[in-house]
Symmetry: C2
Subunit: 206 residues, 2 copies
């Protein structure tokens, strides 16, 4: 069982989970092979075998996985049950798109709230999530034990917002602002520049 | 000069370009070393040397780069001057955020138009870009020689939109819908699932 999971594997894990959970009772109480999962989902056999082995150590040659155990292992890996809270700073178009996106639950992530400095949107809701004032971030993060933040504010405001996040106890930041952010060494910052993804794609670099 | 450019290098290239272009006349007409660029931008010397060598073959030991030539090479690599058109299918929150984002120009990319099926927003403008009906995509792409498309529609509509894009001559697709898309082999599809980026970050996998 390895922790070297690629984003491609991570993308397929919810597929496997949904399939395994959809199996009828008589099948889900027995064993299942990576080959059977691959066939059912029209995926490559070798790939599925590798994916499953990376999150579960329960596979046995010619026997496969105990289906219940495999479901448990994938769920445990994806963090189902124990949800990690996430906050979004900036409730403009991108921030609102993230607040409205329901795909985080598959990965054990739950957006708790959005934050903005615009008085006109503070107090509103997006997809059942409140948009709060930046001054409330510290309190909300500590109360909900949130350590993950997403920055979608304009680049001119990004460093100030990053500083507020760090003070609020955020240790993982996904940054969409096209600017380099400074933070203490214990804080991980991942820059997500959509223009770069597109540039890589257009130049056939990915 | 190598084509093995990483996204990290790609992220720094506009920094170098802006710095080199900001140099006073007397400096920009001479030579410049990677070390001098690194010092000015507070970046790692080795990294800058590697970045510059990956896009320009003009560097000479103890002499550095002819500044004008280096500017030309970075501009050429980033595609300045010859802009590639891009279309965005889906003018919801995410689509509108992309239409409003001005950072694509740094990478020689230009969003030509957005497309949607909602009659209420067809005909409106976002950041000077028109939101058009899906039925107009074919005509717009062929007229503007556009080969790059971004999908931001809900997952239920993504495959249909992908099919329209392929018919319109799009060969590179950045897909934000959390669904697997089928397209002919000559079409490159890059999936961009923000939940996965966040999941990788929260598990310290990146």
């Amino acid at each position: 069982m390895s922790r070297n999971i690629t984003s491609q594997t991570l993308q397929r894990l919810p597929l496997y989970l949904n399939y395994l959970k959809s199996l009828p009772q008589e099948k889900s109480s027995g064993n299942i092979s990576a080959t059977a999962v691959a066939e059912a989902l029209c995926l490559n056999d070798v790939q599925v075998r590798k994916d499953l082995a990376s999150v579960s150590s329960g596979g046995r040659p010619k026997v496969g996985y105990v289906t219940r155990k495999l479901i448990d292992d994938i769920e445990k890996f994806l963090g189902s049950g124990s949800c990690d809270g996430v906050i979004v700073a900036g409730a403009g178009n991108l921030g609102r798109a993230l607040l409205a996106f329901n795909g985080f639950g598959d990965y054990g992530l739950d957006i708790v709230a959005g934050f903005d400095c615009d008085e006109n949107i503070i107090g509103t809701m997006v997809n059942g999530k409140p948009v709060l004032a930046l001054s409330e971030m510290d309190c909300v993060c500590r109360k909900n034990n949130v350590h993950i933040g997403i920055i979608t504010v304009p680049e001119t405001a990004a460093q100030a917002v990053c500083d507020v996040m760090v003070k609020a106890g955020i240790t993982e930041i996904l940054n969409f602002a096209p600017v380099h952010l400074n933070a203490p060494a214990e804080v991980t910052i991942q820059n997500q520049n959509i223009a770069i993804s597109l540039a890589m794609l257009s130049r056939h670099l990915i």
